[in-house]
């Protein structure tokens, strides 16, 4: 019986040998492999809402304008454009560009895409209306009016005319945002309803790359160089591969063994790389322009007796958070402690070149790390509320990654240590539930995060107006609303400096009343292989552009 038994062990060995002799696949020339933090949900610009989808669609489709490496608007499909004297009418002249199926890109493609976008009225349709682009009749169309009344017309195949309700200073830059990308109407109508942009067969591009393999939610996306791209000389990559990686540790090892050439890391991995003399040279810190902040629910009837309706309570909390420690000890990724409602390194003043929030001490009387002041406010709050013990719930979304769970634990520990009598209970929920609770004011305090849609402070300041759909925080101020609406209509829109000052005034109201407690400006830590160069990063809109990327 013995010798026969050996067979039982020989089989697995032979099997293993078979596995081992199977061969791997080589890498082709000029191929770039990049990490993506989350899956790409859609390639249909009318439905898009996350930065990863924006990034991939921007690889494939060009809009009227594009941003150069410094973030200035330069022509893309539009060869040139003119603005009327009152700033309310733009005329774009289109160049001879082609879709990847051979059709020319015409002004009608833009008209079709924009009307469709407003008609579908999904998440990003607001970008057409008076809060941002101010395109004529956009609000009515979003609410169901006839899409042909939208203020965009094709004068001929190569001329696009856009009429606005009010002048918009950043309009050309806005045209690089994916919501304003064209869609080929003929092709769109030829695919099955609802399946546009769900596979390489149902998507055509006019940009630097074409889709090679993709399905919604997939972990691997491959893009191929588009030979018929109007600016094909600029593109040197033959292949651009995206791999979705969710853990920073996984990303680091994949980078170290060469599987991926560009990865984003965070936390301990950054610390680890910093201590490595060779790898630390490949590290770059890129401010993302997104703000993490604590929102207070000021509803006096909320389920903890409305303690947060008390302004001293809110001031106590915002002054009891050691933002430096948060960033240095827990995030460790070069994120910037922030004391303003508009994040740092975002939206430079065209005249002075200084960022809007360059001066972080502007509101230091209201928001800082100052234990004395925090306790003073707490004592006042205790007196006013006639209570000594407070328990508040901290709502956060638990599927947004490791960093947010670290931040909430640190904030909890700081608040409990610095404000005697206050206990914080963490309340983790999935993102969908978080958004619902947040928008219906079903929380005490919440850690929120906002990324800019366009390069103007208004993308943040708009959040706290009374009419804003989601982040009302049960707070409303007529004065604040007035300033914000003045900034986007005639009064202030044409006067650059006055508008800038008005925005500071509005921001000050936020901090006097401690509507929010800002935490930090997020920074992305990118590891780039020394062989790779030419990737462009932007703070607003499309985060990364690979058109000029090169692999040695």
């Amino acid at each position: 019986m013995k010798p026969k038994l050996k067979r039982f062990f020989i089989f697995p060995l032979i099997g293993l040998l078979f596995l081992v002799t199977a061969c791997g696949r080589g890498t082709s020339e000029n191929e770039l492999k990049v990490m993506l933090g989350s899956t790409v949900v859609t390639l249909d610009t009318a439905h898009m809402q996350d930065s990863y989808s924006f990034e991939v669609v921007a690889d494939c489709i060009d809009g009227l304008m594009q941003l150069d490496e410094k973030g200035n608007a330069i022509p893309a499909i539009a060869e040139s454009f003119e603005v009327s004297a009152d700033g309310k009418e733009y005329t774009f002249h289109l160049r001879d560009a082609k879709w990847s199926n051979g059709d020319p890109v015409t002004a009608h493609d833009f008209v079709f895409a924009w009307r469709r976008h407003c008609k579908i009225a999904d998440e990003y349709s607001f970008i057409f209306d008076s809060t941002v682009a101010c395109i004529k009749n956009a609000e009515a169309v979003i609410k169901g009016a006839d899409p042909s009344t939208l203020g965009v017309t094709a004068k001929d195949d190569k001329t696009l005319v856009v009429s606005l309700d009010a002048p918009v200073s950043f309009f050309p830059a806005l045209m690089s945002f994916p919501s304003f990308y064209p869609i080929n109407e003929k092709f769109y109508n030829s695919v099955k309803e609802g399946s546009y942009g769900t596979s390489p067969d149902t998507f055509i591009s006019n940009g630097a790359f074409t889709l090679d393999s993709y399905i919604p939610g997939t972990a691997n996306i491959a893009l191929k160089k588009n030979e018929s791209y109007w600016d094909a000389n600029r593109v040197s990559l033959n292949m651009l591969r995206y791999q979705v990686v969710s853990s920073s540790d996984n990303a680091l090892t994949a980078f170290k063994n060469g599987t991926l050439q560009v990865v984003k890391i965070a936390g301990e991995q950054v610390e680890h790389i910093k201590s490595d003399s060779e790898l630390s040279k490949q590290l770059s810190f890129i401010p993302e322009g997104s703000l993490y902040y604590i929102a207070f629910n000021q509803d006096p009837k909320n389920h903890h007796g409305g303690v947060l309706a008390n302004v001293n309570m809110r001031l106590a909390i915002t002054n009891a958070i050691d933002r430096n420690s948060l960033v240095k000890n827990y995030l460790m990724d070069g994120s910037l402690p922030t004391y303003t409602a508009v994040p740092q390194k975002f939206s430079a003043n065209v005249k002075t070149g200084k960022f809007f929030s360059e001066n972080q001490d502007r509101y230091k009387d209201y928001v800082s790390f100052n234990l004395e002041k925090a306790r003073e406010h707490l004592d006042k709050a205790k007196k006013e509320l006639n209570r000594d013990e407070f328990n508040i719930h901290l709502l956060y979304s638990n599927d947004s990654g490791d960093r947010i769970t670290k931040i909430v634990q640190a904030v909890k520990s700081q608040l409990e240590a610095n404000l005697p009598g206050l206990t914080v209970t963490l309340q983790p929920v999935p993102k969908a539930e978080y958004l619902r609770n947040f928008s219906t004011d079903n929380f005490d305090i919440a850690v929120a995060n906002w990324s800019p849609d366009y390069d103007d402070p208004m993308t943040f300041l708009n959040l706290w107006t009374t009419s804003n759909a989601k982040s009302t925080e049960y707070w409303s101020s007529a004065e604040y609303d007035k300033i914000i609406s003045d900034c986007s209509t005639d009064n202030l829109a044409i006067n650059y400096d006055a508008r800038w000052d008005a925005m500071y005034k509005a921001e000050k109201i936020l901090f006097e009343q401690a509507v929010i407690a800002p935490l930090f400006t997020n920074t992305n830590v990118i590891l780039t292989s020394p062989k790779v160069s030419g990737i462009e990063y932007h703070t607003a809109g499309v985060d990364r552009v690979f058109k000029s990327a090169k692999v040695k």
Binding site: M1, K4, L5, F8, F9, F11, P12, G15, V20, A22, C23, G24, R25, V41, T42, H47, Q49, D50, A121, D122, E123, S125, F126, I142, K192, G194, S195, T198, S199, S213, I215, P216, G217, T218, A219, N220, A222, Q243, V244, V245, S247, N250, T253, A254, K256, N257, G258, T259, D399, V429, P430, K431, A432, E433, L435, R436, S439, A469, K470, S471
Partner: protein, 314 residues
């Protein structure tokens, strides 16, 4: 027997129908919004609800859904992937999950059987001890730990296998995910096989066969294995469902576009997608019930004792 089988099939269909209804109701009362949006107003969301028919009473929605389902139409997503048709997306994920699942079942039950048989035939000796320890370790170490170590050593320290799963290089890149998943089936199958084998080896008819001069491989093959393996199939069957329907953690670690990941996306992603959760749950349940049905019918065919009691029951 035909009567029993028809009845059993009918019963499964009814069960499946009840499951679908239960799921339908549960999914609709799950917390979280199907429209997880930060930038839309309440009226805009209400319009979307009406567009998708979510404002109608649940029984009507259910009737509508069943009518479509019976025509093989799983519908479109409610929020995930922006209402694209569900079928093609599920098919792609199913292909990945099923292929990796089948690989891991073949590998796992193969190795498990060999270990179990080897251990039983050498009861109390070194091989037995070795196999027992291996199978206990297989149950003790969480499989995601095993996955990480496999990935770390065989794709990073010794960069032999691809680090991530890659559909364009299917077989080679699926080896590590499949092997790491098979750990639990190896352990379960090995342990179960060993115990069944021992029981059969101790039984009177094997003793009889031995007394008639039957020894060695022939005895094992003809008399022991055949009888010992029937119960083993019952352990493998539920494992099959688990493995086919994907392993969320494995898919996360190796970047596989599979059913487990799709389920997590549909429930805990940006929003709850009613139709995806339903479609996936229905798929899982049908698989589970289908396999149980086949098992029950097989029993009746294989084992006359069960046939008797089954008849009594009918």
């Amino acid at each position: 027997m035909a009567k029993y089988i028809t009845k059993r099939i009918l019963m499964s269909v009814v069960t499946l129908f009840i499951i679908i209804f239960t799921l339908f109701v549960l999914v609709r009362i799950m917390p979280g919004d199907p429209f997880p949006v930060e930038r839309m107003t309440a009226e805009m969301i209400e319009l979307k609800r009406i567009e998708l028919g979510l404002d109608r009473p649940i029984p009507i929605q259910f009737a509508d859904y069943m009518a479509k389902l019976l025509q093989g139409d799983l519908g479109n997503g409610t929020s995930l992937y922006n209402g694209a048709p569900i079928m093609p997306i599920i098919l792609v994920c199913m292909e990945n999950s099923f292929k990796i699942g089948v690989m891991s079942i073949l590998f796992g039950s193969g190795v498990g059987l060999m270990m179990g048989i080897a251990a039983a035939l050498n009861r109390g000796k070194f091989i037995d001890r070795f196999c027992t320890i291996c199978s206990i370790l297989g149950v003790c170490v969480p499989s995601y730990v095993f996955m990480i170590f496999l990935q770390y050593f065989f794709a990073y320290k010794i960069p032999f296998f691809p680090y991530f799963f890659d559909p364009s290089n299917f077989f080679f890149s699926a080896i590590m995910p499949a092997v790491s998943l098979s750990l639990i089936s190896i352990a379960t199958v090995a342990r179960f096989t060993r115990n069944e084998m021992l029981e059969v080896l101790d039984s009177d008819y094997v003793k009889l066969a031995k007394s008639r001069g039957l020894y060695g491989f022939k005895l094992i093959r003809k008399h022991v294995l055949r009888n010992a393996l029937i119960p083993v199939v019952t352990v493998i069957a539920p494992l099959v469902v688990d493995l086919l329907t994907g392993a969320m953690v494995m898919e996360k670690i190796y970047g596989v576009n599979g059913l487990g990941k799709l389920m997590v996306d549909a429930i805990a992603g940006e929003g709850i997608d009613y139709n995806y959760v339903l479609a996936l749950s229905i798929l899982f349940s049908s698989l589970y019930i289908g396999i149980m049905l086949i098992l029950d019918i097989l029993y009746v065919i294989i084992d006359p004792r069960i046939r008797l009691t089954a008849k009594e029951k009918v």
